[in-house]
């Protein structure tokens, strides 16, 4: 990579982006004006609500005119007006209405002429005040709360009087146990805890807002304006082009965060000054305690900006116009913002697994940092994982930019799924964007529907996700009038392909075992997490049932979806290798086991190759089944096959030996499936 080219291109990209009025608006004007404006509006609304609530007069009534009721109500009213009553309210309650019968009062309550009515009864010396109110009317609900508190006060006061009358010590009888609490958290810690929920979400949003427009502008915007071809006439290579665009988008995103931080910081200082004038707790507040956290936050946000820029650019690269790119980015923005809410959920901890989940890791780390929890290992893991993900995405992006059909031809987009069915041609193949859309629907369905229903029974937790994986794409194919046989590769394979796939699986299994074993050294709990979900099935089903549910069902359903539906869509518009990598990544992600992403991707690459070359789903299904079957045996008979379930690579010889066998089988499998070398020999002969 030529550094001079990179710096010139970077300068050009930055100049181009910052001269775009839309970007400037989103990046500078919105945060500097919108946030303070929103804050002022929210503050005003809250003040208005409070004012309207406290300035009201509560009107309550009571049923009947009997002596018990009159006595009870007068007691309550006297208590409300009493000097001993320490409850402070800015309202003026009044007994507006005394109904002869309850029916009249219910009508009055429904017409909101009164806020509540009380029905009094007496039993065994106890007086019962039954408050009738409407929870759907805020004033009525407030009146109920008010009356409840006043009645509790009256209750305590009556109890005190009775205890005093019987000559006992009121405090020791009424309060034999006294509970008190002291908040030992400093003002900084208390504020950090509050900020930890809000700030990560704001920062995530600002990174997203900061990178989306520059990313669209630098990719599809450049294609739309026709300047990309001009740039390609220069003696530069794809990597220089991509890196310059990527770095410029990340820079703009980081700058946007900086602007946002200034804006939010301004609001925070304003809040602090207001709070300080109201409460003495903030007198010793020291802003400098946040400095170390802020420094790490900056690095963390930079890493996240790199990752998000790469992801958004990757998606935009498939679009051929600004508008199309906007459509593609919207679902990603929704997903990221939804995931960003994790910061608001209490008790979600940043574990090792969480540290590897994009977006979630950054939100939780920011939350920890603002609560002054510094764990160097976790910080490094989050930073590194974001940088690694960004690197992988940039590599993928450079592959996309290597595709001349994307640079000069039609985009990969063209989502048929949103077209009217009548306009869709028969036997069409879904586009990659169609496939991605279906994938997202399946993923969201698995998280929400599968998650909720999965709690009901063990089998549901398997059948619901598998059902979604089977049905959602199938419905999409039917809607798009796709050729089911062709898309799902429903064809008998050649014996050579089947044999080759089995050998390829043996090689892949050896390699994934090594990768898995290496990863388990670093993340010992990850393997436990992976098997834990299946243990419930093992406990509830016999071995044959386990084979059907854990091995066969996913082998068929997942293959139809990933190596059938998605691979068919991707290979139609991308080069085969990039298509296989993309499918494998999606396949690994749906397993929701971040630590196992790499081994699953290795396995999936083998499955993709087998399905791609044989053009039959049966080969990859066989491989998938074998893989799952071995796991089922290990789950049911852990002691008998300990060499599988607890495979240890404790000596270099074992690692090298297994690696060599794996590579050898892998290559042999590839050669058998590929078949070309044998044919060449035949031709020569």
């Amino acid at each position: 990579m030529n550094r001079k080219h990179l710096s010139s291109l970077y300068k050009k990209e930055i100049m181009d982006v910052i001269r775009d009025k839309k970007t400037l608006l989103v990046m500078i004007v919105l945060p500097l004006i919108l946030y303070p404006l929103l804050f002022i509006v929210i503050l005003q609304v809250i003040t208005m609500i409070n004012t309207s609530e406290t300035s009201n007069e509560y009107k309550y009534a009571y049923v009947g005119k009997d002596s018990i009721t009159v006595d009870a109500i007068s007691k309550l009213n006297n208590w409300i007006d009493s000097d001993d009553n320490e409850l402070e309210y800015d309202i003026n309650p009044s007994v507006k209405y005394i109904g002869e019968d309850e029916k009249t009062l219910i009508e009055a309550l429904n017409k909101e002429e009164i806020d509540a009515y009380i029905k009094v009864s007496e039993k065994d010396g106890q007086v019962f005040y039954k408050i009738n109110y409407l929870s759907s009317v805020s004033n009525s609900a407030n009146c109920k709360s008010y009356l409840t508190e006043e009645l509790e006060g009256l209750n305590e006061e009556s109890a005190k009087e009775k205890i005093s009358e019987s000559g006992l010590d009121v405090d020791s009888v009424l309060y034999p146990v006294v509970c008190d609490s002291v908040d030992k958290a400093s003002g900084e810690e208390a504020m950090g805890n509050v900020l930890g929920s809000v700030i990560p979400f704001l920062l995530i949003t600002s990174v997203l807002m900061g990178c989306v427009y520059p990313a669209i502008d630098a990719t599809s915007g450049e294609k739309e304006r026709g300047t990309l071809e001009t740039l390609l006439t220069c003696p530069i290579n794809n990597l220089e082009l991509i890196m310059s665009k990527f770095l410029s988008v990340a820079t703009i995103a980081a700058f946007s965060v900086f602007i946002n931080m200034i804006s939010v910081g301004g609001i925070a200082v304003y809040l602090y000054l207001t709070m300080k004038s109201l409460s003495s707790k903030f007198d010793d507040f020291n802003f400098s305690t946040f400095i170390p956290a802020l420094i790490i936050v900056i690095f963390c946000i930079l890493a996240f900006a790199l990752f998000m820029s790469a992801v958004v650019m990757c998606i935009c690269a498939f679009a051929k116009s600004f508008k199309e790119a906007n459509n593609y980015v919207s679902p990603i923005m929704i997903v990221v913002l939804l995931v960003g809410y994790v910061g608001f959920i209490p008790n979600v901890k940043l574990t090792t697994t969480m540290s590897l989940i994009p977006v979630v890791n950054v939100v939780l780390l920011l939350k920890n940092l603002l609560a002054f929890k510094y764990e160097i290992g976790t910080i490094l893991l989050v930073l590194m994982s974001n940088i690694v993900y960004a690197g992988i995405t940039v590599w993928f992006l450079s592959r996309i930019y290597d595709s001349e059909s994307i640079l000069f031809g039609e985009s990969l987009g063209n989502m048929r799924i949103f077209e009217r069915r009548i306009n869709i041609k028969k036997n069409s193949i879904p586009s990659p964007m169609d496939a991605l859309f279906v994938y997202i629907i399946v993923l969201i369905g698995m998280i929400y529907v599968g998650g909720v229903l999965g709690l009901k029974s063990v089998l549901m937790s398997v059948f619901i996700p598998q059902g979604l994986i089977l049905l959602v794409p199938l419905l999409a194919v039917i809607y798009m009038k796709g050729d089911i046989k062709k898309i799902y590769l429903l064809k008998l394979p050649k014996i050579r392909h089947l044999l080759g796939s089995i050998v390829l699986f043996a090689g892949t299994w050896c390699l994934t075992s090594i990768v898995g074993a290496i990863l388990s050294q670093f993340f010992p709990n990850a393997e436990m997490d992976a098997t834990e979900s299946y243990m419930a099935i093992v406990e509830s089903l016999p071995f044959v049932g386990g084979v059907l549910v854990i091995a066969l069902l996913p082998a068929v359903v997942e293959e139809l979806f990933f190596r059938g539906f998605i691979l068919s869509s991707f290979k139609n518009r991308m080069n085969p290798f990039a298509a296989c990598v993309a499918v494998s990544f999606l396949f690994a992600c749906i397993h929701m086991l971040p630590i196992r992403i790499l081994p699953i991707m290795v396995l999936s690459m083998g499955l993709c190759y087998s399905a791609y070359k044989s053009e039959s789903i049966i080969t990859s299904s066989c491989m998938h089944f074998l893989n799952n079957f071995i796991s089922v045996i290990a789950l049911y008979y852990p002691k008998k096959v300990e060499f599988i379930s607890n495979m240890k690579f404790d000596t270099p010889l074992k690692v090298i030996g297994f690696l060599l066998i794996g590579v050898l089988l892998f290559v042999i499998g590839l050669l058998i499936i590929h078949g070309r070398p044998f044919r060449v020999k035949e031709e020569k002969a």
Binding site: S8, M15, R19, G226, T227, E229, T233, K425, G482, D483
Partner: protein, 251 residues
């Protein structure tokens, strides 16, 4: 001098029933330009002209065959990145960065062509004098007229003083004055000993401008020669009639 040896470029076309089919946009084409020559590439829409010129300009990689240029020392340069620095490429699709001023744009491209900052300044002055950009050199490109933009495009193309030029339908949609500036430029460069490859739909323009013509149809060369040779061969009065005769003969 640019030379393409047996280049083929395949694309995947979507057939009616969603079936992919590979087709050759350019099939086994060999062409060569000489110094001080304008070579015209003609053909109907979809003949493969743009794909051929993109391969010659290093924008696309041929699936089969090789494209190379010869430098002043007669070294054969086929590396696409290096090759691009020997070529000035201009097409209808090579638009300019509207948000930049003319000076900024030329400066960025100068840097990408390997000039240092001081040399760029000097080179921009030279080019702006040649192409008469002085009046609007510090104006934003989006504010310029079509003719002025065309002059900037040519300036971008000749900034690195290449030995070869590739023009893909450069006068398409331009008014007569703007088109003339491009034609004049090509003539000038030809007299300076540069080689020019030029594709157009305007037969009259090609007839008086080109020294040699290559006609493409369905990705293959169907005729080659000087305008005079072609007219004589097909017994036609002008290149337009020759073009129709050749296309008809091949269909």
């Amino acid at each position: 001098m640019i030379e393409a040896c047996n280049v083929t470029k395949n694309f995947i076309k979507q057939e009616k029933k969603g079936i992919k089919k590979e087709f050759a946009a350019v099939c086994d084409v060999s062409i060569k330009t000489n110094c001080g020559e304008i070579l015209g590439v003609l053909g109907p829409n979809g003949a493969g002209k743009t794909t051929l010129l993109r391969m010659l300009g290093g924008l696309m990689k041929p699936d089969v065959g090789e494209v190379f240029v010869l430098d002043r020392e007669n070294n054969r340069i086929s590396n696409r990145e290096v090759l691009k620095s020997y070529i000035g490429y201009l097409s209808e699709n090579t638009k300019l960065y509207g948000r930049f001023t003319v000076r900024e744009l030329l400066s960025v491209f100068g840097e990408l062509y390997g000039y240092n900052k001081n040399d760029i300044k000097g080179r921009i002055e030279e080019v702006s004098e040649t192409m008469m950009l002085q009046d609007f050199i510090d104006n934003k490109i989006e504010k310029l007229s079509t003719g002025q933009k065309q002059r900037v495009s040519i300036s971008r193309c000749l900034l690195h003083d290449p030995e070869n030029y590739i023009f893909d339908e450069p006068t398409l949609g331009l008014d007569i004055i703007s088109a003339k500036s491009i034609i004049d430029f090509m003539k000038t460069e030809k007299t300076r000993g540069k080689s020019v490859i030029y594709s157009t739909h305007y037969m009259e323009e090609a007839e008086f401008l080109c020294d040699r013509i290559v006609m493409l149809n369905q990705g293959k060369i169907i005729a080659e020669g000087s305008p005079l040779e072609l007219k004589e061969k097909y017994g036609t009065r002008n290149l337009r009639e020759t073009f129709f005769a050749i296309v008809e003969e091949n269909e």
